[in-house]
Amino acid sequence: MSPHTVHTRLVALLVGVVIAAAAACCTFLLLPAQSEQATGVEYGYVYSGAKSSSASFIEANMDQSSILVQGSSEFSTPSSLVPQVPSQVFGATNYGLRMMCVGEAYDQSLWHAMALGALANGNRLPGGKVVLIVAPGWFVDGGQDPNTFKTRFSYSMWQGFCDNPDVPDQTKSYVASRLRQMGIDETTINSGAGNLPQDRLDSLALGALDDLKLRQQLGKVRQEGSPLASGELQTPDWESLRAQALADAQARSTNNDWGIENGFYADRLAPVLDGSRGIRAGETYSATPEYDDLRAYLQVAKANGLDVLVIVSPVCGPYYDHIGIDASARATCYERIRQVAADEDAQVADFSDREYERYFLYDIVHFGWTGWIDVEQSIYQFAQGGE
């Protein structure tokens, strides 16, 4: 092959690379930015990992009446089963409060610590308050499965957390060490936290890739918004809301004595009850780093001047007795959560004493009809400045 031929073919290769690079740049122009928002649309109650991972989207869709509420799978409860979910209370009537629900299943204290650090950067959270919903399921022996954590890891939130100058270095180091334990690779960790030239290059590349993914995924989120609650400002009538919740619960829970929704009991619980007696005996809720992760979360909040309300969710007492996680182990878990919150000056809305109350949960771990009303009342009072 002559030198001329080699030369022209190399040029052709380079032209192919340039065309591919131009096409990649075009995707940034074609996909709407994360922060692009539609006016008059509420996204606070959309259950989405993409939404939860995008600080820009979250910030763009909050206003002075918004409060950040971090949690996990309780946000996925459908309104068709539990009409008292936040989207049907604060999202349907103008009570002067909008919840921005951030988090999905498997998002626990460590994930939320990163997210809060990213969201709080630059005093961007309105009202200076945040709510965190925790549950005993976060504190199981052995800690969270690293594989589930990795599926939820958000590079954007990690980068935003590292960029927040108000987060103490000690807390950043702790979170970085926990990420290593959870199997996040060193390149990813260092790209957020490192100072070497290659870390900055990695940060640019990983940030750009994550940005594109989120831009694409947020397209689906934007289709799931609902109209902003409008009309005259009202004050919630909690007694009336609770009475309706009780009526809804009594209509939807008729096939068991535990106050569980009919479909869940018939399809998921009844078939396995006999074989599940004592299967979780030995669970102590003590051999886990989750309490330290919770402490890190609260330290991030404190360092950013945020008031925190920790909502302690109960479990279904009769079912947990049945599977062998006894009341004393559960009580220990609740007490340790309360202690960590007290150590870090956080307020607590403690619903651990509702384990045996029918209809507080609709399945065995998620807020039900009366549960959501009580949780919403505590959030409302917290937002209004009460304790």
Binding site: A12, L13, A20, E104
Partner: protein, 60 residues
């Protein structure tokens, strides 16, 4: 003729044809390079191979 000999003949014919049609060869190289890189880019960014799992009750 043995299969190996047929293969050698085919590749040699292809090479000779490309040497004789350099512009076409350059076009093919540029197009395949761009297509491969764009495909890789789309897969990495949008395929969802790293997407999070759906919630399942087994977390209890």
């Amino acid at each position: 003729m043995a299969l190996g000999a047929k293969k050698k003949t085919a590749s040699a014919r292809l090479r000779r044809w490309l040497d004789a049609h350099n512009k076409t060869a350059c076009l093919l190289i540029g197009t395949l390079t761009a297509a491969a890189l764009i495909g890789l880019f789309l897969f990495v960014c949008f395929s969802g191979f790293g997407a999070s799992a759906d919630f399942i009750y087994s977390q209890f």
